[in-house]
Symmetry: C2
Subunit: 326 residues, 2 copies
Amino acid sequence: MNSPLRVAVTGAAGNIGYALLFRLAAGDCYGMEQPIILHMVEIPPAMKALEGVAMELSDAAFPLLHGIEMADNPNDGFKGVNQAFLVGAMPRGAGMERADLIQANGPIFVAQGKALESAAAADVHAVVVGNPCNTNALICSSNARGLPAGRITAMTRLDQNRAVSQLANKAGVLASDIGRMAVYGNHSPTMFPDFLHATIKGQPVADTLDQAWLEGDFMTTVAKRGSAIIKARGASSAASAASAAIDHMKSVWHGTADGEWVSMAVPSRGEYSVPAGLIYSYPVTISNRAYQIVEGIEHGQYAQKKIAASADELVRERDLVADLLA
Amino acid sequence: MNSPLRVAVTGAAGNIGYALLFRLAAGDCYGMEQPIILHMVEIPPAMKALEGVAMELSDAAFPLLHGIEMADNPNDGFKGVNQAFLVGAMPRGAGMERADLIQANGPIFVAQGKALESAAAADVHAVVVGNPCNTNALICSSNARGLPAGRITAMTRLDQNRAVSQLANKAGVLASDIGRMAVYGNHSPTMFPDFLHATIKGQPVADTLDQAWLEGDFMTTVAKRGSAIIKARGASSAASAASAAIDHMKSVWHGTADGEWVSMAVPSRGEYSVPAGLIYSYPVTISNRAYQIVEGIEHGQYAQKKIAASADELVRERDLVADLLA
């Protein structure tokens, strides 16, 4: 048995946090030989509910859960952590525009970036789940320059998984039959799920599925899936978001399979003509806990336009938070 | 890869169901080589929310999830199922006594017993999670006499896990250091968590922990844990109950470790002077998907009294539902 990994979860008393914590403690992310100590971080008014979550976690008697820490601030919460799931964020209130949301979240991620830099373990990896996650990750990493570049990433795995699910259902195959489903750009309706390079049982998706459906219903269903779920469930995606966060960190931890790639928003260095410095989702491969952006993929005009449009949106988001970037 | 197992979950759109489904689909119960097809069963008014849960499950792109079926009745829902988690039950309304609750739930479990007998696979195993689970399981199995005895059990694993958690926290050890923590009786405050035969790192609990604490705070904390969690979280135990249900069925599926036992409410044949026919929680060992009640444990007067008191309560519950027993 390895020595325990310290794993932080912010927004730990929220719905995504609740779905995430039990799967982490069950071994779904780091495997059955890796004990963990959970660092649950919340805002002060949520500490009582968090106490209840801690009771339930303890009551599950997980063999791999070697400790539970609770904190109402990131400086205490991130002490010595090796992995961080930054789930907590300001929810979008009634009548709030995306720009308002971006600005409301800024200060949270300034503080979390500083805390990761000063308090976390030297090998820390963090994934930002709280929205707008790309720009939150940008603020966070800009305030944690002492960490190696690329240690703070943002989650577009839920978009990838949603795209996989749409393709699998339409083609009547299993999710595991879909390969190389990369999502480019911002975790927002401008993202581009690149069906042109995705595969079904190793063959191009376009060999099986209709191009009009792919450019039409497929794209809009993936982009608007979040609201469709709210409409059906009466609550926003929680367990599927937690599951994608686990997939993201599992890929970071265990690496990607040979020939496969996953989607992850990482600092751009100009790949695919995206302005350097943005936190942009690309297909990546991972080994030894370091990702590499997949380069050399040929994109036609249709894809290039979409890749550029999502980058443009992220530039505008960056402008909105310019004063928070160190 | 094995051929898929059909796994039913009733109350699938509820909070325990929501926590349970994603862990089942992730492989937490049947392992990473066992694909499953989920049969989600709900009552008609919950079908729209269930649709949202199905969307999220699909969006998690689980490699092991080979299908999702939905039904608004157990006859359709249990068709061909090999495993069934009977989670859905009437919740206790304001001013409702336990007796009212028992009678309100009766017809649900009559119908489910009949449906298990007529529609499920010949190898079906079912666990009743919905409360009052022992008496619900009694009604259910009494209406499914075509199934071999003991195929329908009730869950006291959450009580066991809560007891383990209390002992581990008090002794400052890991949950996995606690052994043989058996719960006897009804899943209600009369249950008896037998600390007298439980072990810490193989040694009797009483070697480490104070007898007064064990007979006092320990017993009441375990018995009243459910309400303490509602108080803290503002919602009843969901993820810890789902986790215990997984532990229960995992034990049925994979068996128990050598020298270890688990708690499960099963049909009594008079063991420990409990009236035969009650669904009573005992320590059991399991191999080849068949349990055996651990016999020959010596109980002193203190334990005998508690074991009898919980049996008495179950006799009274049985009397309340006498007209529903076939």
